[in-house]
């Protein structure tokens, strides 16, 4: 009898343990699906409350894919990946370009993509979360009566598309993901971003580090509900500060590192310095002229040149030249269409459900929100008819789209495969968009622009200042790719010097750090007291040079970049004291 009871109790213990273990195991399995974002009220202001611009963003389902680390995921950091655009799909970008377990390989002859196992997967060093932004990639938004053209047209405005709500969306997705995964909720988070994603990451980090300013009237963007959500997260992760304002130095124990791939940061000054460098004698444009035999005619020598051109006028002249010689501005060592061709091939592949399942590691037929039956209120594009004539107004980081780009945008992929499995969508909805031009147009022309709010990422100085505030607390890695004209990173060190309220100097060190295979650093000297909550005087940004890469470094030098990031994380003490810098782990008695 005693033996039976002992066996029964032992069985019960095993069952409970297995249940708990199952829950833990469930949290560390690959996942793909949507994070729901509800309607939310926020506003912009210039310190006059009743003259503020109140806005309410629409509901959205944000696509995200989680891949746990190869080993011991509960003790590994979370790397959060996203691309830019704005309106660019991470799924066709970083997710497909040699960061996850699988990658898309594009045949250089046929431009067809295939799924391959990725030997340079970042799962080697951590858990991965890839996120598509609002109405890009697989993400879609929702509204009442999406069939009403006028109402749907009105959705493409500042309430859904501006740099701050864009960053806030990602903060919400990240915090809700962490809350749903308590086994890694306290773990360090590293943002890994590309292109316009640089703007998104600096907004995200500023929201996270200086969160109270976004509810007490100090910041131009006010989002009290988001601030409460951030506080709730900190109440869990930093219980010693529960209910109090957590200082940025403590917050940076979790949000401690960022990896920026050819980022937009201080866009106007980056462009200003870039065109000065590119228009200077002996620049890479003269090298291209010698290589191709087609001379580059500088802006001022063009017969149609205007007096006092903006940096964007001059850059358009450069883009025209690159196009003339048949090269790709995103990677000018390659023929035109190389960069976008990868996105197109990845998009074509991902809109086959079996390939999507293979890439994500998840049976995507089990994702209910993918089905047409769950998308009666979904929308993803503005117009039904061809509107090629309307696309010259764009906030895209790169060259403005061409008519042919627009035509392929409306129906980028046949989607018959998805339709067969998930159902036919409404005409204003799509399963996948690798680059949503409606998003970039909404960023460029919306109510905040018409009412002169200083929040346009292309022109406003505030983003560079926010970035420098963040860097005082967050270790930063920025790629310097050789062949990228769109984000010409050699301009970045000098561009940062324009923020004289923060910095006394910004210097490019092309030699350091010692023994680096791909050297490069940016040395920053801060004005004392220029960053709230910090006594920082100097900071170093890792700035490695990638001799064979353009705008998407993981696409062309994935192993090199992963090695550099791993080495940098080690040198900044990330792995060695991952537990030390996160007191919660100590309090929980987690062994190193």
């Amino acid at each position: 009898m005693k033996k039976i009871i002992r066996t029964f109790i032992l069985g019960l213990c095993i069952a409970f343990g297995a249940g708990a273990g199952n829950s833990l195991i469930a949290q560390i399995q690959p996942e793909a699906g949507f994070c729901f974002l509800e309607e939310n009220d926020f506003y912009f202001h210039t310190n006059s409350y009743f003259n503020r611009l109140p806005l309410r963003c629409s509901q959205a389902r944000i696509w995200r894919v989680y891949q746990p680390a190869d080993k011991d995921p509960t003790s590994k950091p979370l790397f959060v990946f996203y691309n830019g655009g704005p309106g660019g799909a991470t799924s066709a970008g970083l997710f497909s370009a040699n960061t996850g377990r699988n990658a898309v390989s594009v045949d250089p002859q046929t431009y067809k993509g295939s799924v391959i196992s990725n030997p340079h997967s970042w799962t080697r060093i951590g858990n991965l979360l890839h996120v598509d932004s609002r109405t890009a990639g697989f993400s879609y938004s929702m509204m009442e009566n999406p069939q009403d053209d006028a109402l749907r047209h009105a959705e493409w405005d500042a309430q859904n598309y501006n740099a701050f709500i864009d960053g806030a969306d990602f903060v919400r997705v990240l915090l809700r993901f962490l809350a749903d995964h308590p086994s890694i909720q306290n773990n360090p988070v590293v943002l890994v971003v590309e292109s316009y994603g640089g703007i998104r990451s600096l907004v995200m980090l500023h929201l996270l580090l200086f969160y109270q300013d976004y509810a007490n009237g100090n910041a131009i963007y006010q989002d009290p509900a988001l601030v409460q959500e951030i506080q709730n997260h900190y109440n869990t992760v930093f219980p010693e500060y529960a209910g109090q304002t957590v200082p940025p130095s403590v917050i940076a124990q979790q949000f401690s590192h960022q990896v920026l791939i050819q980022p937009a940061i201080t866009r106007y000054y980056q462009r200003l310095v870039a065109v000065e460098m590119l228009e200077a004698p002996g620049s890479i444009l003269d090298d291209l002229a010698e290589e191709t035999g087609v001379p580059y005619i500088r802006y001022e020598d063009q017969p149609w040149a205007i007096a006092n051109p903006s940096p964007f006028n001059i850059m358009n002249n450069i883009y025209d030249y690159i196009d003339q010689i048949g090269r790709d501005p995103y990677i000018y060592s390659k023929p035109a269409g190389f960069f976008n061709g990868f996105f197109d091939a990845a998009a074509e592949l991902l809109t086959h459900y079996d390939k999507l399942s293979q890439m994500t590691g998840v049976d995507t037929t089990g994702i209910p929100e993918l089905y047409a039956s769950a998308r009666q209120q979904a929308y993803k594009i503005k117009f039904l008819e061809d509107y090629a004539s309307l696309m010259s107004y764009s906030a895209l980081l790169g060259p403005a789209p061409k008519v042919s780009d627009i035509q392929s945008f409306l129906f980028p992929c046949a989607e018959e495969d998805m339709t067969t499995v998930f159902g036919a969508l409404q005409p204003w909805d799509r399963y996948f968009l690798d680059l949503n031009y409606d998003v970039s147009t909404a960023f460029a022309l919306n109510r905040t622009v018409m009412e002169s709010y200083d929040i346009h990422y292309r022109y406003s100085e505030r983003f560079g200042e926010m970035f420098l505030d963040n860097v005082a607390f967050v270790e930063t890695f920025i790629t310097n790719a050789a062949y990228d004209i769109v984000v010409y990173c050699p301009s970045l060190p000098d561009a940062l010097t324009y923020h004289a309220s923060k910095l006394s100097s910004s210097t490019h060190d092309a030699v350091g750090p010692p023994q680096a295979e791909r050297p490069g650093q940016i040395l920053l000297e801060y004005n004392p007291g220029s960053v709230p909550g910090s006594n920082v005087t100097t900071r170093t940004i890792r700035f490695p040079y990638y001799a064979n890469s353009g705008h998407a470094v993981p696409m062309t030098e994935p192993g090199e970049m992963l090695d550099d990031v791993t080495s940098w994380l080690e040198k900044t003490g990330f792995f060695a004291d991952i537990m030390m810098r996160h007191p919660c782990k100590q309090r929980q008695g987690v062994k190193k």
Binding site: Y49, G217, S392, N446, M450
Partner: protein
């Protein structure tokens, strides 16, 4: 010396006695008097009128100055309350021919309402048009006071006399303001168009009470034994400091409304713009979510000012 001082005291005592007691009321039944009066008062409740001044400044900053390179105009002339219509009833008791006491109940009211719009535009390869409209912008001020007074009459003719007086009492006042506005921005480029409308209704109200004092000078003319009229000018002093009220805001693109209650104060807004910073003092009773240093000072509802009234006298 002592004799001169004693003499002076005696003369003064006699004068006081004569002032109050020597002239007797001719008939006991005419001691009571009712007066009805109305006219115009000139007030300048500066903190209340800051509502309009602040609105003008906002339009200067956000509209006129921001679009200064555009064509167009905006009559940025918001109404203020500088006068009110008083009216009252006063009960008078004559203790003597010249001296009387009174109890008055009076009120005042003023409303200003205006509908106007302005637009700015430019037109070249693209066109842009910004229009702001108020339909309407309203201010309203009213109050009520109960005052006890003392009056002294000096005959200047058989039926005419000049009177001086003073009164003091308690007053209660309330105000409200409403702004129903829209702002439309239209952009038409060669290949893209944009059209958006913003707008809302902002309503706030407040009330307070406090001491009121008056000093009066008037000319009386009797038309008969029991009826007459007067013309009175007076200066009223009344400053209310604890003013509280509610508010409501509706914005057209945000469903629902926001309501609040709060104490009125003067807020200093340091408005950060691309082309520089501007400072605006605005009265408000909405303080949620803002830092304390923005409260510049208390809000004072100042109803002081001169007034001119005509009245009818009925002697009982």
């Amino acid at each position: 010396m002592i004799k001169i001082g004693f003499f002076r005291v005696m003369v003064a005592t006699w004068l006081v006695w004569a002032l109050f007691f020597l002239p007797t009321i001719s008939a006991a039944e005419e001691r009571f008097q009712i007066e009805l009066y109305g006219g115009i008062s000139f007030v300048n409740p500066k903190d209340f009128n800051l509502l309009s001044k602040a609105e003008q400044q906002y339009n200067d900053i956000y509209f006129i100055e921001r679009l200064r390179s555009y064509n167009g105009y905006f009559v940025n002339d918001f109404p203020e309350i500088r006068e009110a219509i008083p009216g009252g009833i006063r009960f008078r008791y004559h203790v003597s021919e010249k001296l009387s006491f009174s109890l008055a109940a009076e009120g005042f009211f003023q409303k200003k309402e205006q509908t106007f719009e302005g637009s700015f535009y430019y037109s070249s390869t693209a066109s842009e048009n910004h229009t702001k409209r108020y339909d309407p912008y309203k201010l309203r001020l009213s109050g009520f006071a109960v005052l006890g007074g003392i009056h002294y009459r000096l005959p200047v003719g058989s039926k005419t006399d000049i009177e001086v007086g003073a009164a003091a009492g308690w007053a209660k006042a309330q105000f409200d303001f409403s702004s129903n506005w829209t702002y439309r921005a239209i952009y038409q480029g060669t290949s893209v168009s944009y059209d958006s409308v913003d707008g809302g209704i902002l309503e706030e109200d407040g009330s307070g009470n406090g001491f009121m004092g008056q000093a009066m000078l008037r000319l009386n003319r009797m038309l008969g034994r029991r009826i007459g009229f007067f013309v009175e000018t007076a200066f009223s002093y009344c400053r209310m400091k604890s003013v509280e009220g509610g508010g409501r805001e509706i914005r057209i693109n945000i469903p629902g409304e926001t309501t609040w209650e709060g104490a009125w104060g003067i807020k200093k807004e340091e408005i950060h713009l691309l082309w520089g910073d501007k400072e605006v003092l605005v009265p408000t009773n909405y303080w949620a979510g803002w830092i304390d240093s923005q409260r510049e000072r208390d809000f004072v509802l100042d109803l002081s000012g001169f007034r001119l009234v005509l009245g009818i006298v009925f002697r009982l």
